[in-house]
Symmetry: D2
Subunit: 145 residues, 4 copies
């Protein structure tokens, strides 16, 4: 049985993010698999810190982006919405150029919250950042966490 209840295509995910942080950073969704969501992000003037390396905050922005979209596609979006509650990340290797690729996979899909794990790798497939996202699932119309 598929985990996806509100599946979207890569094209739909990218359209949804026009005029957002995601588009502004050059993040592009590239694949929705059986149990994962994947997107790439360039390492360039949009995502670097002063020493020319990938800014850790860009990695977390990528992580929260793919994790949130994964969570959203696992719920019935007519009735529910998801709200990011907590995110954490370890930066383990510098990103210097090219693209990094973030892949989000579910750790726990509960009725009230999800936990997603996100790994970000560089062009050589080496781990740059590992992150975990906690998402609250709330009824549409309800406000706040």
């Amino acid at each position: 049985m598929s985990i996806w209840k509100s599946l979207r295509t890569v094209q739909e995910l990218n359209s949804l993010h026009q005029a957002t942080l995601v588009q502004h950073l050059g993040i592009a969704f590239t694949e929705v698999g059986e149990d994962f969501v994947r997107a790439t992000m360039p390492v360039d003037h949009r995502t670097r810190q002063p020493y020319g390396l990938l800014h850790g905050g860009a990695s977390v922005a990528l992580a929260e982006t793919v994790g949130s979209m994964g969570a959203g596609m696992c719920i019935d979006m007519q009735e529910y919405q998801c709200v990011g509650q907590e995110i954490n990340a370890n930066h383990v290797r510098a990103g210097r150029s090219g693209l990094v690729t973030g892949t989000a996979r579910p750790v726990h899909l509960g009725g009230r919250s999800h936990v997603w794990s996100i790994d970000i790798v560089n062009d050589a497939g080496k781990l740059v950042c590992t992150s975990r996202l906690t998402v609250a699932i709330i009824r549409r119309g309800a406000l706040g966490v």
Copy 2:
């Protein structure tokens, strides 16, 4: 005794971030106090998610930016550099418009690592996000964490 060993002005901090994520998101350093570093970030097409709210990843990017600069100014930058190791954040209130303001304060300034606490508030002064950053302090020339 001041915590700052490599103090920079707000102008210097902003110049340093030309052609980086920080400038690209519209983040602007606004104050370096006795024991804090502060910057603002707009809530607009550069930092929003699809529902028009501040993207959680933008908050973390702001948090890591002010925390990293705080850490860097507390070390002798001729000899040492700092590397972000871990960051975590709770998103507690939606950001909708205007500016958010992030303030980084040291929790622990050790010889090998720092811990910084970063709070982000909206225009009304209400907490949007609270974050904690762990930074490794390493000798210049040393690579990796």
Copy 3:
């Protein structure tokens, strides 16, 4: 206006924890203030790691204990219960002997979740550990997060 909706005395908090981890580790609630909950924990064979220092896991156990009790006392416990969702902690200084003292204070008291900050200090008042706890608030009878 007080934050406490289900206030308990220190004696009640300690009674509640008979035959639990809390009692087993020697944790004792010592104060419920206007906006904080405090407990002490011994640094001895019950809480040390092999090198004779306070085990980081003991610190987190103390943090989750005071944070959870704080959260529980801020909700109407006839109708709601709280469930720990996420906890994180930085260990910044070794605990060697005597007592450590953990104090939990609310960062965000929302309708569906709380965020609590917990600092643990040693006998000299120096910070040993800083922690943040996310708690889900759910209706009694509801199961799981």
Copy 4:
């Protein structure tokens, strides 16, 4: 090539923890695999919270225990020691009885720090808690992080 530089048997790991938190909570090392360390912990009066469920702090104590031992066995312990810096955990399912089993696997083994991932499951093999531990690797004799 093995990741272990200071391998110990399960018996040695258990002996090492006499008169510590680990023994006091009933934690027992059960397996050291090619790239993992595993231990069990009882869900009983030593590890429960007032509602009879596994205390989240006990889960984190188990996580930090197996992660730290994994880290220690991956370094040359004649020259180096490891110090827990940061730990985070999501509690995703209640532990009610029997044993829980924690397994630590390396995410990143760097020269100055390690990142370990720890999953804790119940008797039915269901995930109870997922955790990530950041460990600083420092020369013996050096103090503090």
